[in-house]
Amino acid sequence: MVLGTYKEIVSARATDKEIQNVSQDGGIVTGLLAYALDEKIIEGAVVAGPGEEFWKPEPMVAMTADEIIAAAGTKYTFSPNVMMLKKAVRQYGIEKLGTVAIPCQTMGIRKTQSYPFGVRFLADKIKLLVGIYCMENFPFASLQTFISEKMGIDPTLVEKMDIGKGKFWVYTQDDVFNIPLKETHGYEQDGCNVCLDYTCELADLATGSVGSPDGWSTVITRTEDGNSIFQQAVETGVFETKDMANVKPGLDLLEKLAAQKKDKNQKTIDKRKEMGLPVPY
């Protein structure tokens, strides 16, 4: 299945205006983690928070809904969140932990849970893993190149970045800039090119903008826990939903992108194997 195993797929957005304003798309990650904190499903969450340098995120442990909201928005460079999970458990004493992760980070977490050779008493404390769709990730210096060199903007003025409609977008207070995605090719980290997972197939539930209209996100619920937490949040009114059949551009686009990633990267894997290079898949 090109979208992985799932229970349900809907288009959704957070009903809270504050979350709508700060979030990338439908505010699913922010809304759900904040809800899980309020409902005591989790006691804290590891998220990609703002770092010291411009848009260079740092993993952080958020203990309140406000801290989660402050960290909202997609980051287009590395934030090694997995590293922070142990700290959240050991130094913050969190027994029930939530986190947000891209597909490859999710793989690291899930492998640690199934085979915890050297990581004590962490596996069973991860109660909610919200996955986000991911095509590729960029080293920080690649982002600098796009913004300073290709768009000619001072990076400190950038307020938001986005990928959509075949373009890489940068928002400042007064302006919107873009470059075609084609121009970003070759700047992604190479490890992404053997990854076959676009829709975070091992998360409790996964989300991203693709498939839904502006301001909305497509949510794929996967595990029992992920599905029930999301349903509860919808019933409580944290999210409003729409049937995927009634939204544009719809599921086809999500399936198309997921298949593209698999096809393209399977070719890279085959090529690497021909050259005798290692590939874990």
Binding site: T5, F78, Q105, G118, R120, F140, Q189, V194
Partner: protein, 270 residues
Amino acid sequence: MSLIDRIKQFLGFKAKPDKEAKADEGASKKEVKKVAEEKAKPRIGYIHLSGCTGDVISLSENYDILAELLTNMVDIVYGQTLVDNWEVPEMDLALVEGSVCLQDEHSLQELMEVREKAAMVCAFGSCSATGCFTRYSRGGQQAQPAHESFVPIADLVKVDCAIPGCPPTPEIIAKTVVALINGDMDYLQPMIDLAGYTEACGCDLQLKVVNQALCIACGTCAMSCQTRALDMTNGRPELNEDRCVKCGICYVQCPRSWWPEEQIKKDLGL
């Protein structure tokens, strides 16, 4: 088929033929009983070479299953602090903790004997599996200045499976035991593969992941390191060699070293 026969068969050893259980009319009752008992409970030995005892302590942290395990499920037939027996007996599984010192005649002899008498040998903990921090030994210390060269047991004997960790966590030990009892070979396959991973170092991340264009900046390695020898710098692991004990856990946990997809999906119900 009894539990241990199943395990042995899965590990590539020939299971004892079933007819042995149905002993001849002529065989004494005592013998029949002995065979039946042997089949019911795997005989396990614990061999303590050059290690710090951390591995067995980690094992004993599984309080909830330990009593049941020791009383009803296995027979501990050998082990310095566990059994009053100085002769290495026949056993089904030998758990070996610690690396082996080439200058220590007794350890060498014990290891060889264990290999002969045990159907399966498991390198239990990183010292046994990779040498771990004993790799740094250069001899010249009290009480045995000549004890200088410590190597993973696989350098000297055939090892059937390895459970690395400094120490391995109580959870991985419990999961392995449960898998053994259920004959769940899919779960155990990585342990069998890891028997070949004997030269470990934090620098494996650079050599085998970053240099091979496989690193994706997840930070799993830095989280897993039990001595905090790793940090993440610009999305790549950075090793503080002074803290690295060469346990191999960072590379073992990295999602880009080996990838147990089917097992993970099973565990998640996906």
